[in-house]
């Protein structure tokens, strides 16, 4: 089998913008055009999880479905396109209805540098960052760390050339096209805008992650 001949196990459907790639015998990676579609599909598939699906994992432009066994996946196959490519009114169902408000004290270690790089000034950076509504797209890096899309492009800067050994828990940070809240103290290379007292990760809470794929978020400056 030569993969050079084309993606193995890929089904395509130009009409719905959905591509399906096999992940072993009991998994598929569904590529979608936009993250809202992945978040929406993830919520639709969430009804299946536990029974037949072990994991439903949104990516930036994809959805990974891992079934308990190949037979469970086969039962889902006929519905994959229907669920992932479902037509919907723009904006409907792709995020939680009311944005989650995260109070932020904009006093982060990189705020001054960002103010100078962007020419916005410190207040301008805070106003720009807090002026957008964000949407959780996918999780990674650490439990409860959810990548948020919606960052105004003027704030889109690469990660720090040298990551910090310690980023405090609750740090509100940006990198590339994303913003995020550090759930706990870890090393990290994102640029730090400020801090929130909100605990975005609590293993005793159900669900433990406050910000998940599909969660709408607004950052509110603290006085």
């Amino acid at each position: 089998m030569t993969p050079g001949a084309g993606p193995v196990g890929t089904g395509g459907d130009a009409g719905t913008g959905v591509r399906i790639r096999a992940v072993g015998a009991a998994g598929v990676l569904v590529e979608v055009d936009d993250p809202p579609a992945a978040a929406l599909a993830a919520r639709q598939f969430a009804g299946e999880s536990g029974a037949t699906l072990v994991e439903v994992v949104p990516g930036a432009r994809s959805l990974l479905l891992l079934a308990r066994d190949p037979a469970d996946l086969d039962r889902l196959r006929p519905r994959l396109h229907e669920l992932v490519g479902a037509r919907r009114p723009p904006g409907a169902g792709d995020t939680t209805p009311e944005p989650l408000e995260i109070p932020v004290r904009y006093d982060g270690a990189d705020l001054h540098d960002l103010a100078e790089r962007t020419g916005l000034g410190e207040d301008g950076v805070a106003a720009t960052h807090s002026g957008s509504t964000y949407r959780g797209v996918f999780s990674g890096f650490a439990p409860g760390f959810c990548y948020l899309e919606g960052l105004p492009s003027v704030l889109a800067l690469p990660r720090l050339p040298e990551p910090r050994q310690v980023v405090p828990a609750g740090s509100v940070a940006i990198a590339g096209c994303y913003s995020a809240v550090y759930p706990r103290s870890t090393p990290g290379g994102w640029r730090l805008l400020g801090r929130t007292a909100v605990e975005v990760w609590d293993p005793e809470r159900r669900p433990p992650a406050l910000i998940r794929p599909g969660t709408a978020v607004r950052f509110v400056p603290e006085r």
Binding site: M1, G4, G9, A22, E55, P143
Partner: protein
């Protein structure tokens, strides 16, 4: 008639502090962690699946000790563990499976892959395995440390679950299961893990293409599935790092996407990583194939650094719609 005189009760007696039945760690060896079936179902929140890497050995140890498969065992990396059973309570069945180590119970040699009775006060000592990497110790009642998201597993990537064992730790045990261990176990087939691969006799696992075999430059898939890969020293519960011919990819970095246990990722350096249970849940480098059979993942769990591994082309995945 007066009222009855109450005798002075005196101070409330302080109960003797006791930790209850447990294992006291004398020597944790190089790395010993608590493991069960892990915490799948939370990947969308950034939580790795975790859990015992060699699941058949974990289950077998529990069966031999009379436990449910969900009971927590100790995953011992390259032997070296010494623990003492502390009372109160009766003698308990224990079982050691996985990588075969010399086993001493109360100073006497004891068999692997069989239930062994241990009395309170007796010490278990595991030597260095002759081959393989990870041994599993089950104790009747299971290791009863607190759960996180329904699991007692140590996740070395995310830090969830109990930290790796340290000398002096006291690991509580659950109530021993009623009755003797189930009879009629046929453990011969599972008794010995696949011998660690050598250049002359490499370990072989089945590799399914996908999700992105097309991310490999022409000829890359053939190289991946024909080379003798050497397990690198940086391998751990997160992944098996393989050293061999450099693989080239055509796609570079991708929008981050979900990754499965057993996924073979090709980072820019071209040396593949096979993800094990504590793997990151999403990643941006292409995953070109998947090792997904439980028996194959168990083989990977038993490979020491320096072992030789071949990734054979597995059965094609079922057709997609």
């Amino acid at each position: 008639m007066g009222t009855a005189r109450c005798p002075a009760l005196g101070p409330t007696p302080t109960p003797t502090p006791t930790l209850g039945p447990g294992l006291v760690v004398l020597d944790p060896g190089r790395l010993t962690t608590v493991q069960d079936l892990g915490r799948p179902g939370h990947a969308h929140e950034g939580v790795p699946p975790s859990g015992a890497l060699d699941l058949p050995s974990h289950r077998l140890a529990n069966r031999l000790a009379g436990n449910d498969p969900t009971a927590a065992t100790l995953e011992i990396t390259l032997g070296g563990l010494a623990v003492t059973l502390e009372g109160p309570g009766p003698a308990r069945a224990i079982a050691v499976t996985g990588a075969p180590t010399p086993l001493l119970v109360g100073g006497q040699p004891a068999p692997l892959y069989l239930p062994v009775g241990v009395r309170p006060g007796e010490t278990l000592v595991l030597g260095t395995p002759g081959h393989g990497l990870r041994s599993y110790l089950a104790v009747a009642g299971g290791i009863a440390v607190a759960t996180t998201l329904g699991s007692r597993s140590t996740d070395l990537l995310s830090g969830l679950g109990p930290p790796p064992l340290r000398a002096g730790d006291h690991l509580p045990l659950g109530p021993p299961p009623p009755g003797p261990p189930p009879p009629g176990l046929d453990v011969a087939a599972a008794a010995s893990p696949a011998a660690a691969g050598t250049a002359a006799r490499p370990s072989v696992v089945a590799l399914h293409p996908g999700p992105r075999p097309d991310a490999l430059a022409p000829g890359g898939w053939e190289t991946l599935t024909s080379a003798a890969w050497v397990v690198a020293p940086a391998s751990n519960r997160v992944g098996l790092r393989l050293a061999g011919p450099a693989l080239r990819t055509v796609s570079g970095e991708l929008p981050p996407e979900g990754m499965a246990t057993g996924g073979v990722q090709v980072p820019p350096g071209g040396q593949p990583v096979v993800f094990l249970a504590d793997h990151p849940v999403t990643g941006g480098y292409p995953v070109v194939g998947v090792v997904d059979a439980e028996a194959d993942l168990a083989r990977l769990a038993q490979l020491r650094p320096g072992s030789v591994l071949r990734l054979a082309v597995g059965a094609s995945p079922p057709a997609t719609p």
